[in-house]
Symmetry: C3
Subunit: 304 residues, 3 copies
């Protein structure tokens, strides 16, 4: 992403990157856009996605981590917030980007934002505040902080207010954090090397992004060419009514190690390094998630 010039560093941000679990069937997203347009006219609001599964803070966090390296300076407004209206804090974070300029993060203190703030820059979090809250009109409930707290905070940043003016400073160590994705090297009983990795994300095309990166693959010694095996059992939280793990990848699924989706025949399974630098289990013009019956959060075993 382009670096901000020194003179740009003191200019307020002109772009808000907006992620939520609001969906787009209702007017929620549009109303937040309107609040930002009213508070900071001329701001560009870019929707990252509003289809994070309802209440899935972890999915929202992963999505932000993937996105931030490509966004450049601005304000990230993230709202996946099952605790809205309770004592959970609203927070603002700020990091100085390696290329110059700053990126701010506004949303709930529930683990949604902090990993992304740390992925956005090599520098640590420079500023963290608990957002001060105006009193709401008494004839409305406090169930829409996107409209009433976080959207206005993002607008104030774009209108030129410093993050520090939006609330009391807090210790970044006090922020709620999620656990990272599982990546483990090992050896199967038949002597083959293996890598056990969590499925972080199933994308629109049914590709399975693993927690393992290309660096993990290199350390583990996964061959860059040839074929490896997706070992039979998926160890998963999903359990059948009879108490057995529900999802079993059939024995003998082979993954061809390729560089591009188009290197696979239609329906053929493969393993590649995806556009985020993670290993991904994919299929040629088909949904690996569908044909392997895998969802985000499961553990897959690659063996070779």
């Amino acid at each position: 992403m382009p670096a901000a010039s020194p003179s740009e560093q003191n200019r307020p941000p002109d772009t808000v990157f907006f992620l939520s679990d609001f969906g787009t069937a209702d007017e929620f997203v549009g109303v937040v856009h309107a609040v930002i347009a009213a508070g900071a006219p001329g701001t560009t609001v870019i929707d990252l996605t509003h289809h994070i599964p309802p209440f899935d803070v972890r999915a929202g966090s992963h999505t932000l981590v993937r996105a931030v390296p490509h966004l450049g300076p601005g304000v990230v407004l993230g709202v996946v917030d099952p605790g809205v209206g309770t004592v959970r804090r609203g927070i603002g974070l700020e990091v100085v980007l390696t290329g110059g300029g700053t990126m701010s993060f506004v949303g709930p203190d529930n683990g949604l934002l902090v990993a992304a703030a740390e992925a956005a820059s090599e520098a640590p979090i420079a500023t963290a505040v608990e957002l001060a809250r105006d009193t709401l009109p008494i004839d409305r409930g406090a169930t829409f902080d996107g409209r009433d707290l976080f959207g206005p905070a993002a607008a104030r940043l774009c209108a030129g207010d410093a993050l520090a003016s939006l609330g009391e400073p807090i210790d970044p160590e006090s922020l709620v954090r999620l656990m990272g994705g599982v990546v483990e090297r090992g050896r199967l009983h038949d002597g083959r090397d293996c890598l056990r990795a969590e499925v972080l994300w199933v994308d629109h095309f049914g590709n399975l992004q693993l927690a393992a990166t290309v660096a993990d693959a290199r350390v583990a010694g996964i061959p860059a060419r040839g074929t490896i095996e997706l070992a039979a059992r998926i160890e998963s939280g999903r359990v059948d009514p009879d108490g057995l793990p529900r999802s079993l990848v059939p024995d003998g699924v082979h993954l061809r190690c390729v560089e591009a989706f188009g290197d696979l025949k239609q329906g053929e399974f493969g393993l590649l390094v995806d556009a985020n630098g993670h290993l991904a289990v994919v299929a040629g013009e088909a949904s690996a998630a569908h044909w392997l019956n895998v969802v985000a959060g499961e553990l897959l075993i690659l063996a070779w």
Copy 2:
């Protein structure tokens, strides 16, 4: 919402708020954006939602009523229009906002816009016109007024044309109106007080917004704390093949009166005042609509 300063009052609107039942699978929405960009460059177009159920004028109207208090000055472009191409009128409405500035409404005269225009301001509708229509090229059908009539009208307003220049004046009394949502106080046969209220809206999270507002609740005497009952029968238009009402809320569903979603245990049912000031039947990190099998338009009975 911020008030426009006196000098802003004569500036043309710079924002269009766009709602439709077009969905986003096709190019309809993008084409209307392009028409506005071509006719009034620099206009900000904010999508409220395009997922109003097809032809559901009532749902579109409710959505606009909820949204307008949060939008500020601009043009509301609303297109849910089963009568496109027939004799139904295309209309433009204008109200002066309490905080200053004006809000215009452009769309079909089928009840979609008028309640929102009245909700946007304490002042009555200041101007109402029937939009004049250009002759279409003969090699295309008149089935896309969003592109051919309403979008261009919104663009003309943003380009500086007065609403009165877009067509002949009409009497606001002549506008098509929908009936309001049902709210009735009563007493059950066992002596308990009750409130019967229509479900106006089921949102993305499965929350059931009732037609009853916090003011209705106060008048009816619904306790602000404690537990009330969602009485068994849903009186509904939905009927089973055997002629019985299809949806029955199981006996004995209790709603805990809370202030926030997060005050409920996962899956617990509750009643709260939502962000629009309406009563809503909700569930902790779950869909009340799904678990209670309720859709918009049904009548629920709260008893205490």
Copy 3:
């Protein structure tokens, strides 16, 4: 669409029209918006749709063909790209619009863009280049050309670079092309005239747009008023497990020839000229696709 004035012709484009099969559940679309905002600040990005069925280049091409006559000058960014990362070329095309100004097209050379480029202007394609490709960082896969190649190319055009500076010129004759939709006049065994036409597109409302235009209908002699028959057999690639064609429109479906959806009773089938000038099989406030069990790509027979 408004014509650009002569002085505008040398200004870089300020609008990108973006179509893809990315869906909106992930951050893909937002990241491409961010890349464009970073490379060409102030550019308006209009999303045509991102819900082209995955890998369906033909559907993407049809959608662009329908949209371009209504877009005006700018850059069309189209990404439906099962061959990403393989040897297929990335291309840029440019046409001079009849009304003045230019429209550029950026995306994969797989048939997605060329028909739209030819539909946008009466003039032939003025410039065609193979996009030059930067070397990617080694720790990421080459699976997201929307972010890494096409989005940046669109941004460079909006920042003022000429298309010719983005890669080596190529011969427009060398571009990959799709076959057009089927339209055939004929006569049924019972002596009635008929028209066999491919279903190009099933829209959000379930309307079936045929490849036949109003001009085709005139040549074939389809009556403008009255009723015609949708002949029984749909000849289709869809086959039942027992080898029989899967979709059979029931005998005797009659289509009333009308001008507007609203001229039909609820659930009544009709035929009209749609907003793109094509014949469309529709139903009054209902989905013709659902009730006739028809999908895009099938052949329908109209008989009269």
